[in-house]
Symmetry: C2
Subunit: 129 residues, 2 copies
Amino acid sequence: MNIIISNSSSVPIYEQIKQAIKTAILSYELKEDENLPSVRNLANDLRISFLTVKKAYDELEEEGYIKTIQGKGSFVAPKNIELMKEERRREIEKHVEEIIKIAKIYNINKSEIDDIFNYIASEEDIDIN
Amino acid sequence: MNIIISNSSSVPIYEQIKQAIKTAILSYELKEDENLPSVRNLANDLRISFLTVKKAYDELEEEGYIKTIQGKGSFVAPKNIELMKEERRREIEKHVEEIIKIAKIYNINKSEIDDIFNYIASEEDIDIN
DNA sequence: ATACTGTTATATACTAAACATAACAGCTAA
DNA sequence: TTAGCTGTTATGTTTAGTATATAACAGTAT
């Protein structure tokens, strides 16, 4: 797993770590029961305090993404497949809600939004269909 | 103009004010040269410090949305129509970019995204087409 | 035992956000 | 002209969140 954090970002470091690990788990890059780096190792790699990593891990555990056992380490929690699909969907829903809210205020219709989709998709050089 | 702020939100109060006024301007609810509430009045209405309102107004001026004249008040700045369209589009683009990033990671295709669109649109009881 | 894991406690530093208060300055209408 | 609005500036305080360092403690495995 490759975590890159930005020191200058307004997003807290522990939050960046959480996001990176969440994404890795939801995209199956990290598999069930797979070992996460130890708090001290990851902290050394990222050149930050282990307390910052611990905070990220603590919250990930609270949210059910990982499981930590004292003396052993942290592991990807076994997760309900349906639940994971739901969570990925929710991420998208949040943004769609925002888009629709904006479209409503500014009277923008679906075809205009589709145009933006196609524009962004082509820019990122991916096939969205 | 009706501004509602949440004290418990993690979004700063001055940011909430900025967003509300920006939206009102971009949606033509506030028209060119229209008078904004005075910093002290708005502060009283919202029961916050006038310094917080001033911070919001200062940044809105910096971004070109309003114009402030000492002793007179703050006014909606005359804006380039094309520029406004661009800005509204950018708001949507930001979200589309996020959606595509997520779709890329999780292998979600456009029809699934469209389903979500239709779902949210129907929930909000609006015609998106 | 040693060397890894995670845990806890304490203390410090820094920053952003929000506030209170007071004094000052420009505009305008009575 | 003055009263009562506007905005401006300065100073200081409080609070919460983030991140750090250090040290000591506890569980696991070889």
